[in-house]
Symmetry: C2
Subunit: 199 residues, 2 copies
Amino acid sequence: MKDPIEFWYEFGSTYSYLSVMRVEAVAEAAGAEVIWRPFLLGPIFADQGWNDSPFNLYPAKGRYMWQDLERLCEDYKLEFKRPSVFPRNGLRAARVGCVASNEGWCEEFTRAVFTANFAQDRDIADVQVLAQILSNLNRDPAPIIESSNSSANKERLRRQTEEAKRRGIFGAPSFTVGDELFWGNDRLGTAIAWSLGLR
Amino acid sequence: MKDPIEFWYEFGSTYSYLSVMRVEAVAEAAGAEVIWRPFLLGPIFADQGWNDSPFNLYPAKGRYMWQDLERLCEDYKLEFKRPSVFPRNGLRAARVGCVASNEGWCEEFTRAVFTANFAQDRDIADVQVLAQILSNLNRDPAPIIESSNSSANKERLRRQTEEAKRRGIFGAPSFTVGDELFWGNDRLGTAIAWSLGLR
């Protein structure tokens, strides 16, 4: 019996980049099913008393993260260019991600946004950048962006973030398989094993 | 050319338990050299504004840690009994660890203390418990404990903790290979590869 992996990520999150770019190939090779769940870390960090990324609030942790991330990108043969602004606000991208999720093209959109943020140093908080990404995916930006700003869609993202909190998620990326929570890109393999019933 | 791995751990730290119990076998199999470096997380956490373990300060992170730790202990076939007090104060154990390090029996002492804390729920902050551990290792506790409280030895531990800070260490376990820092039990394999020049 197989349970799907729910993949929780935040568009501004560095370690989410690693999983976003890897998860499809890894899951496909293993025969696991993945459900993509964009959410916002901001409200979850705010609950912990943080008004910024912990990588900025705790400089030693931040310096390490960039070093670790560069090493991992090399290992995974992933392009990487350190963003000139960190973290970039992922709210608009996450709203478009909810529309995309509803319409079945969340994965390709997500990968394009993460590539823009972490390989091209483009400002994914800027609606023009998102519009260009949508155009490159052969999608008409205007109606998508309009629908991403509808109150129903905003509510969808709020609910997804609430659901993340309810599941005990405190960082990104995270994976859930049923009630089991796995935090961090390092746990993708374990989440897959769990989803295949190998544990 | 091989560089040794310096293995930085704190006696109260849960994830340090995993590495303490694994590092010798893993390094031996790979032909890597390990230098054991006990230090104190307390002063480093205090610099970050924390007066307790982040696993207590941030409850969602803490709940996850215990779940993750239990899964990992199962994977590694390591005995585990959740300590009734967390974190236990590792100051006395770290001072004895410095004596042990100086005299060449740091590894066996360290494993015995971590086993007491994380498999037997014994209070490693208690000097009687440490004395019993030393007796079990066929060492006369009294002179060792006295020498652990000498000002030269206290200073040795302070310097080791300062050195950890200087290397950018912000949590435990950590591994360093030259100037390269690796944080967390998850990075033991990477640190070994680095130390063997495989990167």
